[in-house]
């Protein structure tokens, strides 16, 4: 760290239709530092980075590179200045090899491809940072962690001076995250300055400097060693909040007879890999069973099997002793099983439909909602208005398309529908992903409420802290296997992290 400003924004402003994403941002990246952008979802961190990368063009303000004003009209310009970016959702081609992914779009002079020269160049980079990758394997065959390396190599291959990483640890196990931070600091020593986005307080403390963002504004830039997690969080929220402390969990329930029993579930995905590898779990009424693990380790396939959307290759799913695996989603829903899918806009909502239409999705043929051949508009509207009130959905009316709602309110629509139509089991896959703290709190409270009413809840999340707070038991999933099941009362993030990293535990 030289203290020299390398990249700087002055009063940078970016609007999207109906949203102010960035407003008057003055941000400074110094040479050789690891700089964290810290803030809630929707605070404008990704937008700022996209502006710095030239992917978005700011509506106002300016960007300076080494004191000179620059205009990034497209990523080509920023790449020319040595800026690289790793996007939160990887931008990789599954069907390409690692090598093809890295070199595509980098050579704009020659017609032919010189694969060998590129490969040699990459080998040197990998050796330097201790990255181990086979350049000829297809990206779709790599683990999520390895795909992250490919993304980073794409930038290193272009010899960047500044690397921007958008939530790089979101998809990594704690162990992989540690490795990433080591490499990030090594890059810093090699003269590469780094900006990374995070909303995890523990990672923020590993940065050289932190800029806190909230509601599109940059609140302050501070040194982590001169502050505390509590102070930073207050800055982010803009008011005094208590960091969540572990509550005493005294939930008691009967573990003699599971309502849902999963035995030796196996499923091979289309690439021939076991997405579910011999999964066995019991779910009891009145409990919240957490499913801890990085996304993409079989959660999706498990939830799809449990909601009738995927037929496992072998194994059984028993509901009160009756086998139901491979039946249709209709059967599962009629048994009183509700589902909050992880991809809410793809699997849970019809965005172009209004709220009331979404409230009856899947139940449109229910007698309550029909009158002869026709839909009973009055009943549907009444229900929708009831639920809007009950679930505190912010909307002018029940006829607003769901696509006009914020992510939190859209999630509440799903929650309202599923809780209104199920009465036994709630399956929730990453229900708080991408939501504000306020909504997260709300979702968790609803889940707890239902647990107390006697629901059995299966809750998958990447937020280990939340799971420990909320759940009665936690199962750890990795590579399609259950690596262990622990009592939430007597475990810690470190324990779970070790299990996720693949160390099996025998005393469950």
């Amino acid at each position: 760290m030289s203290g020299q400003a390398l990249l700087e924004t002055k009063m940078l402003t970016k609007h999207f239709p109906g949203v102010v994403a960035n407003e008057g941002i003055n941000f400074v990246l110094e040479e050789g530092e690891v700089h964290c952008l810290f803030g809630e979802n929707g605070a404008g961190k990704s937008t700022l980075c996209s502006c710095l990368f030239g992917y978005y063009r700011p509506d106002g303000g300016s960007i300076e590179f080494k004191g000179e004003p620059v205009k990034f009209r497209s990523p080509r310009d920023s790449i020319r200045y040595g800026i690289g970016m790793v996007h939160q959702h990887f931008v990789l081609v599954d069907e390409f090899t690692v090598l093809e992914n890295i070199i595509v779009g980098t050579n704009t002079e020659k017609w032919s491809l010189d694969l060998e020269a590129s490969e040699n160049q990459l080998k040197n980079i990998c050796d330097e940072y201790g990255i181990d990758l086979k350049f000829n394997s297809l990206v779709r065959d790599l683990s999520v962690g390895e795909q992250q390396w490919v993304e980073i190599l794409k930038s290193l291959y272009l010899k960047v001076e500044i690397l921007i990483l958008d939530e790089p640890t979101a998809v990594l196990t704690p162990e992989e995250s540690n490795k990433l931070f080591k490499i990030m600091h090594k890059m810093g020593q090699n003269g590469i300055s780094i900006i990374f986005i995070s909303h995890k307080i523990s990672e923020v403390m590993l940065a050289d400097r932190v800029s806190v963002m909230s509601k599109g504004r940059l609140i302050d830039t501070v040194f982590p060693r001169e502050t505390t997690p509590q102070e930073l969080t207050n800055l982010m929220i803009g008011r005094e909040v208590k960091l969540r402390v572990i509550e005493e969990n005294d939930n008691e329930y009967d573990r003699s007879y599971p309502i849902l029993s999963i035995n030796n579930l196996k499923y091979k995905n289309k690439y021939g890999k076991f997405a579910l590898n011999d999964i066995s779990l019991n779910l009891y009424s009145g409990e919240i069973l957490g499913l801890a693990g990085v996304s993409g380790n079989g959660q999706k396939e498990l939830f799809e099997s449990l909601s009738g959307n995927l037929n496992p290759d072998s194994g059984t799913i028993s509901y009160e002793g009756k086998e139901i695996q491979g039946r249709s989603s209709r059967v599962f829903m009629d048994l009183g099983i509700g589902l909050i899918p992880d991809d809410r806009y793809r699997e849970g909502l019809v965005s172009d439909f209004d709220i009331s239409e979404n409230i009856i999705l899947g139940w449109q043929r229910l007698n309550d909602y029909t009158k002869g051949f026709f839909l009973n508009r009055n009943n549907i509207k009444r229900l929708a208005e009831d639920l809007i009130k009950k679930f505190n959905i912010m909307t002018p009316s029940s006829t607003v398309p769901v696509s006009h709602l914020s992510g939190g309110n859209a999630q509440k629509v799903i929650l309202a529908r599923e809780l209104n139509h199920s009465n036994k089991i709630l399956l929730a896959n990453q229900p708080t992903r991408g939501l504000d703290l306020g909504v997260i709190e709300y979702v968790y409270n609803q889940i707890k409420l239902k647990r107390d009413e006697g629901f059995a809840v299966l809750l998958a999340s990447e937020e280990l802290e939340d799971l420990i707070n909320l759940c009665d038991r936690i199962a750890i999933i990795s590579d399609g296997e259950i690596k262990g099941i622990v009592e939430a009362k007597s475990t810690s993030i470190q324990d779970i992290g070790l299990l996720m990293a693949g160390q099996s535990e025998t005393s469950a």
Binding site: S74, V91, L92, G105, S112
Partner: protein
């Protein structure tokens, strides 16, 4: 039926296969480039008929076949521009765009044709000549089948390895394939998705136009509105059946061409069996082929999905 198995007839069927293959192969290989760039162009049929019509007009006006072929290619490229504008720039649904173009061009060429002939007899032209490759053409059977064809047939076959090289061994090919799988990977490098898609469509539609020109100049001496009779659609089926790989597409086109060649010969030889059955065969075969090959498609992930930032 037994006449079908005489040596001369078999040779004629096989030679006919290569001739019928030519226009479909041009269209299919061209459309393969387009589809690899993520554009599901359903306007192949229309592009082909436009290429055929324009080359007809030029051939009858100028008496120059090279000029006619060239204008067929150019008219195909113009069709490609329209498709590109609709799908890549305006992001209209790819299927609808292609259907709309087919309907428009079907009507337009018919309309112009009527205007052109002014109620009289359609003017005719002298079509493409066969070209015998010296020595090789005199090999018995094989010579007649393979080495006594029109030059464009050789070029069509040659286009398979050339396009294959282009797609897999050049940076443009790599970028075009990337568009079909994940256009954002191009976009975030600051490279124009639209420009590359336009290039792919124009290459593809130019080749389709060339196919149309061959259909006109290689088979007939005057234009008919239903000249293409679904050959553009067969080209699309060949791509799906060939799993989006140049070699596979080539094989599928050969199957269709062979069936149609048989149908043509049956119609000439045998009047007992309704000829319509044989003409329906390639279409029936295409459905069966798609049923049989349904496992493991290799379809580009973002084919037909408009790209929004």
């Amino acid at each position: 039926m037994s006449e079908l198995f005489q040596e001369a007839v078999i040779i004629s069927i096989l030679a006919g296969t290569l001739r019928i293959m030519t226009p479909i192969l041009f269209a299919a290989i061209g459309e393969l480039v387009t589809q690899r760039a993520g554009i599901w162009n359903m306007g192949v049929e229309g592009t082909m008929i436009m290429g055929a019509f324009v080359s007809y007009v030029v051939a009858t006006q100028s008496d120059s076949l090279p000029l006619a072929i060239l204008s067929g290619i150019l008219s195909g490229m113009v069709m490609g521009l329209i498709i590109g504008f609709m799908t890549s720039t305006l992001r209209v649904d790819h299927f609808i765009t292609g259907l709309g173009l087919n309907l428009l061009v079907g009507g337009l060429t018919f309309f112009w044709f009527r205007i052109y002939v002014k109620g009289g007899h359609p003017p005719t032209f002298t079509g493409l000549e066969n070209f015998s490759i010296p020595i090789l053409a005199s090999i018995p059977i094989l010579g007649e089948v393979f080495f006594n064809q029109k030059p464009l047939t050789y070029i069509a076959i040659l286009s398979v390895p050339v396009v294959s090289y282009f797609l897999y061994r050049t940076r443009w090919g790599l970028e075009i394939r990337c568009l079909g799988e994940n256009p954002k990977a191009i976009d975030i490098k600051g490279l124009s998705v639209a420009l590359r898609q336009y290039i792919a469509i124009i290459i593809g539609s130019g080749m389709t136009g060339l196919g149309g020109a061959f259909l006109m100049l290689g088979f007939s001496d005057r234009f008919q509105p239903d000249l293409t009779a679904g050959k553009g659609w067969l080209a699309i089926v060949a791509i799906i059946a060939g799993k989006w790989l140049p070699k596979g597409v080539f094989a599928a086109v050969l199957v269709f061409a062979f069936l149609e060649s048989v149908a043509v010969h049956v119609q000439i030889i045998d009047a007992d069996i309704p000829y319509q059955i044989f003409f329906a065969l390639p279409y029936l075969a295409s459905i069966i082929l798609l049923i049989l090959l349904r496992r493991k498609t290799n379809q580009p992930a973002r084919l037909g999905v408009p790209y929004f930032r």
